[in-house]
Structures are given as structure tokens and as C-alpha cells.
């Protein structure tokens, strides 16, 4: 009886794992096909900037495929879907459809979303890297600060990438100057703070 329950449990996780694999494969191939189509379209129209962006988007879409090679992929499905929402909002709508230029609030909103997203990844990492028993002997401040810290590190790395990109090549990414950089950082910070507060209150159940 007991043995049967154990094996049932294993079967269920196995099945859950399979569903997750299928979702990752479907989402990434879907996004890659969409972006490849856009890339071909922009190459035909001689739009060098946009086909470059579409190519970057293809690279970003392939990243979750790396999770398929892990023995136990513990990144949950909402996080994977969240990643593709980020790619759609930033690459497809922001850069290619020109929302970054058309709406001044778009950039800030994407940064806010990215803050929330990285903090959620932080919570997932906390659950992966700290065993259940150890979590009980830990103040709620630690996971909250961990999630916020990861969101901030993500924001800072992003701004560094833009800054170094500008210094080396393009001179376009941080053209909004200091105010732009600071507003980006603040948006990411507030996104992270939201999740950090939630994590602090619901430490054992996040």
C-alpha cells in the first residue's frame, strides 16, 4: 500500500516534468519561429537594426531550452512563461513595434516587470538552494533581502550591459542619460520590493 503511494507520487512528478518539458519546447519553438519570420521580413526590407534585434530575441528565446538538460528542473512553469512575456514585451513590442519610442512609460513598465520577475526567480532559487529544514531556522528577512538583492543585481547588470554597449559600440541605449538610468533602477527596485514584502510576510509558504 505504502509502496504503491510512493510510486504513484513518482509517476505524478514524472508526468509533471514531462508537461513542463513540452511547454518549454512549444513556447521556445513558437517564439523562435515568430522572431525568425520577423527577421526574414526585416532582412528583405533592409532594416538592419530590426533584424539584429529579432536575432537577439531568438537567442533569448533559446535560453530556457537549457533547462531541458538539467536532471531536475525545479524552475516552475509560471517563471518560464514569465520569461517569454518579458521577451515579447521587450523585444517584440518594445523594440520592433517601437513601443519604447512611442510610449515613454513602456520602458519603465518593462523594468518594473523585470524587477518582479527576477525577485520571483530569487524566491525559486531560495527554495532550491536552502533545504526545507534550514528555512525554518532562518529569519524572514533573509529570503526577502535575497529576492530584493537578486532583482537589484539583475537591474544593475542590465544597466552595465547598456552602458558598456554604449561605450564600445552603439551610443544609443542610455541616451536618456542619468535620469533614464535612475528611473530604470528605481522601477526595478520597486518591482523587487513588492515581491520582497510578500516573501517576508509569507516566508514558509512562498
Amino acid at each position: 500500500m505504502e509502496k504503491e503511494r510512493v510510486s504513484y507520487f513518482w509517476k505524478r512528478t514524472e508526468r509533471g516534468g514531462k508537461v513542463k518539458r513540452i511547454i518549454i519546447i512549444l513556447l521556445s519553438t513558437g517564439m523562435m519561429l515568430l522572431l525568425a519570420g520577423l527577421m526574414v521580413y526585416f532582412i528583405i526590407k533592409h532594416d538592419t537594426l530590426r533584424w539584429g534585434i529579432a536575432a537577439g530575441g531568438i537567442v533569448l528565446s533559446t535560453l530556457p531550452l537549457g533547462l531541458l538538460f538539467l536532471k531536475h528542473n525545479r524552475i516552475n512553469t509560471p517563471s518560464i512563461i514569465g520569461w517569454y512575456i518579458f521577451v515579447i514585451c521587450s523585444i517584440c513590442l518594445g523594440s520592433i513595434a517601437g513601443f519604447y519610442g512611442r510610449f515613454s512609460w513602456w520602458d519603465t513598465s518593462v523594468h518594473f516587470y523585470k524587477g518582479i520577475f527576477t525577485a520571483c526567480i530569487g524566491v525559486t532559487l531560495y527554495k532550491i538552494l536552502v533545504p526545507e529544514a534550514a528555512r525554518r531556522g532562518m529569519s524572514r528577512l533573509i529570503p526577502a533581502l535575497f529576492a530584493l538583492g537578486l532583482a537589484i543585481t539583475g537591474s544593475v547588470l542590465w544597466e552595465m550591459y547598456e552602458f558598456l554597449g554604449d561605450v564600445i559600440a552603439s551610443h544609443t541605449m542610455q541616451r536618456g542619460g542619468n535620469t533614464d538610468t535612475m528611473v530604470d533602477l528605481l522601477a526595478g527596485f520597486f518591482g523587487g520590493v513588492l515581491i520582497a514584502i510578500y516573501t517576508g510576510f509569507r516566508k514558509q509558504n512562498v
Binding site: V130, L141, L145, I152, S155
Partner: protein, 195 residues
């Protein structure tokens, strides 16, 4: 028993360093004031206050000190108050960046001190070294960004020119902060792994 002994030793070291710093700044304050440099005298007076905080804390019973944190705190104060403001090294350009690196180290040590107090001793062994690494790095980055947010808000609401160097300045500050945090985070990650 050994812990208590070493705790008392740490307390004495903290008391000693703080006392030396406070006296040094008090003498500098008097010297600058008599020389008519009232702004530098004010910086030195600020040094007396900053040095007095750990001095007072060293009298609080049962408070445990994290020596690397205290030492990097005083290195940072000396760098910013004495060399930076009184000797005028901020004018050198790279000094500000270097101090941001030191503050990254300081924040990293603060993260370790906080971590050791908020995590139960028995729980510590099962936790992945990557968690410690990311926690320390994230804390340093958070401190660096909070500092830039403070400067930015000052400029926005009170018309100061703390971020006068513009975007390049802000970004070099942040890069230096993160690098300082990265050094301490790597060290603490390796130490956790060895244990």
C-alpha cells in the same frame, strides 16, 4: 568559553580602533578650525561622530562584533573623510571610484554579519554556497543602488548636484560597488563550500 574570550578580544579591538579614530579626528577638527578652514573642521567633526558610534556600541553588553566589518568601516571613513574631503583626494577622479569599491567590500561584510545573526547555527550547514554568494552580492548591489537613489532624490527634490558627473559617473560608481561586493561574495561562497 573560547567564544566568549574571542568576543571580549574583538570588543577591545573595536574600542581601541574607534578611540584612536575619534581622538585623531578631534585633533584635526581643532587644527582646521584654528587654521580657519571651517568646512574641513565640520568634516572632522562628522568624523568624531562616525567614530563614536562603534565606540558607544562597544560598551553594549553581549553585542558581538564582526571585525572585518568594523575594520572596513574605518578604512572607508579614513578614505572618505580624511583623504577624500580634508586632503582633497576626491579631486583626483579615481578616488571616488576606489571608495565605491571599498564600500562594496564594506556592504559585503555587513551582509555576512547580518546573515550570521539571522540564520540559525544548525541551519547553516545545509545551505548551498551559491545562496550565500548571491545573498552577499545582492546586498552589496542593493546598498550601491540605494546610495545612488539617495543622491538622485537629493538632486531632484533639493537641487543638490550629487550626481553632477552624469550617467558615466553613476555607472562607474555602480560597477565599483558591485565589484567590491563580488570580491567578498566570492570569498564567503568559497568559505561556505569548504565548511
Amino acid at each position: 568559553m573560547y567564544k566568549k574570550e574571542s568576543g571580549n578580544m574583538d570588543r577591545k579591538i573595536v574600542f581601541g580602533i574607534s578611540l584612536v579614530y575619534v581622538l585623531w579626528m578631534a585633533v584635526l577638527c581643532a587644527m582646521q578650525y584654528t587654521a580657519g578652514a571651517s568646512w574641513k573642521a565640520a568634516v572632522a567633526a562628522g568624523g568624531v561622530i562616525s567614530g563614536a558610534i562603534p565606540l558607544i556600541l562597544s560598551w553594549v553588553p553581549r553585542l558581538r562584533f564582526h571585525l572585518p566589518l568594523v575594520i572596513s568601516y574605518f578604512l572607508f571613513l579614513t578614505g572618505s573623510q580624511y583623504f577624500g574631503s580634508i586632503r582633497g583626494w576626491y579631486g583626483l577622479g579615481w578616488w571616488d571610484t576606489f571608495l565605491h569599491f571599498v564600500s562594496g567590500l564594506l556592504l559585503g561584510f555587513a551582509a555576512i554579519a547580518l546573515y550570521e545573526r539571522l540564520v540559525h547555527r544548525d541551519a547553516g550547514k545545509a545551505i548551498s554556497a551559491w545562496f550565500v554568494f548571491l545573498f552577499v552580492l545582492g546586498f552589496a548591489a542593493l546598498g550601491g543602488v540605494m546610495w545612488e537613489i539617495y543622491e538622485f532624490s537629493g538632486d531632484q527634490f533639493f537641487g543638490t548636484t550629487l550626481q553632477g558627473g552624469g550617467n558615466k559617473d553613476t555607472m562607474t560608481d555602480l560597477i565599483a560597488d558591485v565589484l567590491g561586493g563580488l570580491v567578498v561574495a566570492t570569498g564567503s561562497g568559497i568559505r561556505t563550500k569548504r565548511k
